[in-house]
């Protein structure tokens, strides 16, 4: 007889096995390993929650400790490979196959292990892509998630760092999988219900908060004059030109400089209310002066940021918050917002080639993508018009197609011609290609493809790739802002001059900007302490950013 509820029956069996270790749904921290041995089967698809911010650290450690005769050959399908334990489980044979999206701090080790055959790689995804696959062909059998607190029924409070949790739980729990949450504590009543109890099967009391990385804090003290110059160019040459109100910023120092120039330089240009009012963005501390000066109307966040909790709570007109008053973040929704409801992405990168393809990998590191490719891509499914989107579309395709012309998302790469350790930003060939050859990948890990990039901004000026009509013009436009890098020094001087006449290349002086005016006194805050003052004492920076 055909059975149509095999998965449900299997879940019941696993719940029963796990239930023997639990008191109701509650499991003590020292029993976490036994719980995992009871509910995880060899070859399972397992999602350990973790991204570039929060981590289910206790459950990761417990998984590393399991008896490998009971739990082995797992297929890990997690967005972030961040903790050492995430890779140690491959060394021990607990896990075999990996599909992921981001691997920041483990990027060098993951490359070594991939090359050594210790990990069978499925693919490197963007966040949104991996979330999508959770619902199609990579649905978790077991999800190990992180929350702040739970009640005895299993209702979860995630606090400001909700992030990936609702997405992971949705895919797992509604497809007969098992959801295990680690929480700091069990309380009588949670401050708000982020995950309803009937989607949560076990709750492990960790006794301490989950690990969170303050990845989005940039110390204004480290912003250079060149970064200020590129920020001025971007504000006058792109924000003002297109009237960009809805946008996403990357995490680099150049965009932090832009945030700190809004209440000063941009205000003097009369742009307040006309640009940078609605964001898909984490609560960047560098945005505090702009928020306090009335620039920003609304922000939806992927995750939270350490130290910004009280500030966000006190500025609920700006941020999304729950009944308890604290931030409600949601990575999947914010990624969708960045893709479809923002007219511009602006961010930094490590390497740009002659056609504008960019990448953050080097030959020895597999850093993954995170969310940038979703932000930094034209949304081909977009159908609502806006002024910046229509103008970019017109620049890209000046032929009169009437009402059939598409708009374009502005995708801006900003950076200095030379980066850390004098590494050139512009290269003939991306390291990503050598890496893909070495690891025999089907695709080179390109962060933003050249045909999605609309502008490149350096201290040398702006290259508007929308106005380029062929590959040669693109190449010379890019060489034209590549400064003294080898790529820049091999420019065709005559063609670069023509491109400048056409406005494809815009120099600082063409915008009336004197490089000598790019001074740190323009920054609304020049230190972390200044940001604390701007916030009225509500921002509480993590200790590594305090020098007082």
């Amino acid at each position: 007889m055909t059975t149509w509820q095999r998965q449900r029956e299997e879940r019941s069996a696993r719940l029963e096995a796990g239930g023997r270790i639990a008191d109701g749904k509650l499991v003590a921290a020292h029993d976490a390993k036994r719980l995992l041995e009871a509910v995880i089967r060899p070859g399972d698809r397992v999602c350990v929650e973790g991204d570039n911010q929060k981590q289910a650290d206790l459950l990761s450690a417990a998984l590393l400790g399991v008896d490998t005769s009971k739990v082995n050959n797992l297929h890990m399908i997690q967005t972030g490979v961040v903790l050492p334990e995430h890779l140690d489980i491959f060394e021990r044979g607990i896990a075999k196959r990996l599909d992921f999206a981001y691997s920041g701090p483990q990027s060098a080790r993951i490359a070594t292990m991939l090359f050594g055959g210790k990990i069978e790689l499925g693919a490197v995804h963007t966040y949104l892509e991996l979330f999508a696959r959770y619902f199609i062909d990579l649905t978790p059998n077991v999800a190990l998630i992180a929350a702040v607190s739970a009640d005895r029924e299993g209702n979860l409070y995630t606090g400001p760092n909700t992030e990936d949790t609702p997405t992971v739980v949705e895919a797992t729990s509604f497809k007969d999988g098992i959801v295990i949450a680690q929480v700091k504590e069990v309380v009588d009543k949670v401050p708000r219900v982020d995950i309803p109890a009937d989607r949560v099967h076990f709750v492990v009391t960790a006794g301490q908060p989950f690990f969170v990385e303050p990845l989005f804090t940039r110390d204004p003290a480290a912003i250079t004059e060149q970064q200020i110059l590129t920020a001025m160019l971007a504000i006058k040459g792109i924000y003002a030109r297109y009237g960009v109100r809805r946008l996403n910023h990357g995490i680099g120092f150049s965009t932090a400089a832009i945030e700190l120039l809004l209440p000063t330089y941009a205000e003097k240009l009369g742009l307040k209310g006309k640009v940078a009012s609605h964001f898909a963005l984490n609560p960047h501390p560098a945005l505090i002066p702009a928020i306090e000066s009335g620039w920003v109307q609304q922000i939806h966040s992927f995750g939270s940021e350490v130290g910004m909790e009280d500030y966000v709570r006190a500025r609920s007109d700006i941020f999304f918050t729950g009944l308890d008053g604290s931030l409600r973040s949601n990575r999947a929704f914010s990624q969708v917002a960045g893709l479809y409801a923002c007219d511009m992405f602006i961010g930094s990168t490590l390497q740009i080639d002659l056609q504008g393809n960019s990448s953050t990998v080097t030959t020895s590191r597999v850093a993954g993508f995170g969310g940038a490719p979703n932000m930094g891509a034209d949304a081909r499914g977009r159908r609502h018009p806006s002024a910046p989107w229509l103008r970019a579309g017109e620049e890209a395709d000046p032929d009169d197609k009437g009402l059939l012309r598409r708009g374009r998302k502005l995708v801006v790469q900003i950076g200095e011609t030379f980066g850390d350790k004098n590494a050139p930003l512009f290269v003939e060939k991306l390291d990503a290609i050598s890496l893909a050859q070495k690891l025999k990948l089907d695709l080179a890990p390109v962060m933003v493809y050249g045909d999605d990039v609309t502008h490149i901004v350096t201290e040398e000026g702006i290259a508007n790739l929308l106005l380029c009509r062929n590959a040669n013009e693109r190449e010379q436009a890019i060489r034209g802002v590549a400064g003294y890098t080898d790529v820049g020094r091999h420019r065709d001087l005559k063609m670069v001059q023509q491109l400048r006449t056409r406005g494809v290349i815009v120099r600082p002086e063409d915008l009336g900007i004197d490089a000598l005016d790019a001074d740190r006194s323009l920054l609304a805050a020049r230190s972390i302490k200044d940001l604390v003052h701007w916030s009225g004492g509500l921002y509480a920076p993590p200790s590594k950013f305090r020098n007082w």
Partner: protein
């Protein structure tokens, strides 16, 4: 350490009457530029002492662009370089010329 010297003809005299100025600091990734008004109005010299060896070609390009753009006639510019990036060098040189424009 490497020493590099460049001498250029200039279109015009550097503006201002100030005879000497110092901008920048000697630090990793930064540089110090001493500007002195000691040469004929149609000449400019740049003397570089740098911690980064083997970048003569880039220095040559940076200095040539600087002279073309600012015409620093009459100035001897002495650079003490801590391995600064070319864009930082350009900025400091421009700052040095602007400092010399001051009236006192």
């Amino acid at each position: 350490m490497e020493d590099l010297n460049f001498r250029h003809r200039t279109r015009a005299r550097a503006a201002g009457i100030r005879t000497q100025a110092i901008v920048g600091v000697v630090a990793s990734g930064n540089l110090e530029v001493l500007a002195e008004r000691v040469l004929p109005d149609t000449e400019c010299s740049v003397e570089i002492r740098t911690q980064a060896v083997g970048f003569g070609e880039v220095w040559s390009a940076v200095i040539a662009d600087f002279v073309e753009r600012y015409s620093p006639g009459g100035l001897r510019l002495s650079i003490n370089d801590g391995g600064a990036r070319p864009d930082t060098v350009s900025l400091r040189l421009a700052q040095a010329v602007r400092s010399m424009e001051a009236s006192t």
